[in-house]
Structures are given as structure tokens and as C-alpha cells.
Amino acid sequence: MSFKKYRSNLSIIVDILNAIKEEGRIGKSRIMQKANLSYDRLEPRIGELLRRGLIEEVVDENKILYQLTEKGYTFLNEYQKMKAFLDAFGLEI
């Protein structure tokens, strides 16, 4: 039995969104670095975030970068409320 704490899908998504928020516009490799994720774990989540309209792709000097949408900012705000909700019950996401 190992005691390695793992992150929930939601925590990973929030880490990705926070990484993008901090930099404004950011590429995949930088997200991987900031959110401490491998390419295999990042790729499906980027797809999910694009589908849900939380981030959008922008092309800057032939590089694909990602930035938060309005919905993405709202989601990050809502996450704080969700976290506070669970925190009140002594739980963590």
C-alpha cells in the first residue's frame, strides 16, 4: 500500500486553468511544466477544456497557444466556491 496522494480530474483541470491564467497565453509544454503533467495526461484534458469552452486556441507566430475564455474565468471562480463547499464538510477535491 503506497501513500502517494493523487489528484482528482477536477484538481488537474484547475491546475491547467491556473497555469493558463497566470501566463495569459501559454503553449502545451509550458502547461505540462507548470501543472506538473505528462503529455499523455495533458492531451485529453486540453481536448475536454476546448470542448467545454473553458479555453480557446490562438495561433501566435505559428505556435499554438491556449488562453482562458470568459467561461474559463467563471469556472475558476466557481471552483473556489465548490472547494469551500467541500471544505465545510471536511472534504477535499
Binding site: 503506497s2 482528482s8 480530474n9 465548490m82 463547499f85
Partner: protein
């Protein structure tokens, strides 16, 4: 009709509404995040709210109807509320335990066992608390030292079972559980020496 009687269903109804507000908040969180934990909380609080709302309706009905029909209807509503509450508390307990243990990989499948242990420890603690209070009441009447010692012994054993809940979060609390059990049993030994004095 006594107007104060209407306070019971009013409070029950208000409790139901409050629980449903919490359930709606949890549902909103679930829709936003897709995390099952929020769905669990939504179901639990919805059950608590629904049971209170149903009970408030039945209370109004019993207040307005005759005593002959009121007693069985009320007994049924109380049973229904207890069952719904039990289900909702089990859901809350499941998520509480799941969160406590999910940091330990490969232990999530053990959550049902932890649930059973938690339930049994809770029942054990309540039984021992009841025994402790019963003996304490006898002590208040008789003032026999041995009864006070046994009451305290039961109480410490009860605390030992309650410590289980702290241990779920903080493993080091195992020392509390062991210490309370040890001290409780020491008191039973003291009680034995007290009764020997009486025999002499």
C-alpha cells in the same frame, strides 16, 4: 385547534427547504465539475429535505385529523423519515470515508469495510454510553463507589470507540483509542478490588 401545534410542521417544512437549498447547490457544483462527490451530497441532502417535507405534510394531516388515525399515520411517517435519513447519512459517510482513504492507493475497494467498522464503532460507543449513564443514575441514587468506577469505565470504553472516528483522519489517534480502552479496563480491575473489600 391549538395554533402552537402548527409550529411543528412549520419547523419541519423549513428544515426541508433548507436541506433542499444545500442539495441544489451540490447539484449545481456537480453540473459544473462532473465530480461524483457533489452528486452524492445532492442525493443525501435531497433525501433529508424530502423526508422533512413529507413529514411536515403528514404532521399537518395528523393535527387536522382525529387522534385515532393520527397515531398510526404519525408512526409511519416517523419510520419513513428515519429510513430516508439513514440512507442519506450512509451516503455522506461513504464520501467522508472515501475522501479519507483515497490518498492511499488501492484502498478504495476497502471503503465498504471501513463503513461497516465505522457503523459498528458508532453503535458500540452509543451502547457503552447508555450503559455508563444507566450505572451513573444508579450511583446517584445509591452512592456506591464501585458503580461510579464502572460508569467511568464504560465511559472510557465508549470514548475508545469514538476515537475511531478521529483515527480515520489522523492515524496517530490510535494511541487515544488504545489508552481509553486500557484506562477503562483498569477501572474495571479497580472495581473488582472494591467489591473484594465488600466481601471481607
Amino acid at each position: 385547534m391549538n395554533i402552537f401545534l402548527m409550529l411543528y410542521p412549520t419547523f419541519e417544512f423549513a428544515s426541508g427547504v433548507l436541506a433542499i437549498v444545500v442539495a441544489l447547490r451540490a447539484l449545481r457544483n456537480y453540473n459544473l465539475s462532473g465530480e461524483k462527490i457533489f452528486l452524492g451530497y445532492e442525493i443525501a441532502f435531497l433525501l433529508i429535505g424530502t423526508s422533512s417535507l413529507l413529514r411536515s405534510i403528514i404532521l399537518v394531516e395528523t393535527i387536522l385529523s382525529s387522534v385515532r388515525t393520527a397515531i398510526p399515520v404519525n408512526a409511519f411517517s416517523e419510520m419513513l423519515q428515519s429510513i430516508l435519513s439513514l440512507v442519506s447519512y450512509l451516503v455522506l459517510l461513504y464520501y467522508q470515508l472515501k475522501t479519507s482513504y483515497e490518498s492511499i492507493e488501492e484502498s478504495l475497494e476497502l471503503v465498504p469495510f471501513f463503513m461497516i467498522s465505522t457503523g459498528i464503532n458508532f453503535i458500540n460507543a452509543l451502547i457503552l454510553l447508555y450503559l455508563s449513564l444507566s450505572v451513573l443514575i444508579r450511583y446517584i441514587n445509591s452512592r456506591k463507589r464501585s458503580q461510579m468506577i464502572v460508569s467511568l469505565g464504560y465511559f472510557l470504553l465508549s470514548l475508545s470507540h469514538m476515537s475511531y472516528f478521529i483515527r480515520m483522519r489522523f492515524g496517530v489517534a490510535l494511541v487515544l483509542e488504545n489508552s481509553f480502552r486500557f484506562l477503562g479496563l483498569i477501572l474495571f480491575i479497580v472495581m473488582l478490588s472494591e467489591t473484594k473489600k465488600v466481601e471481607k
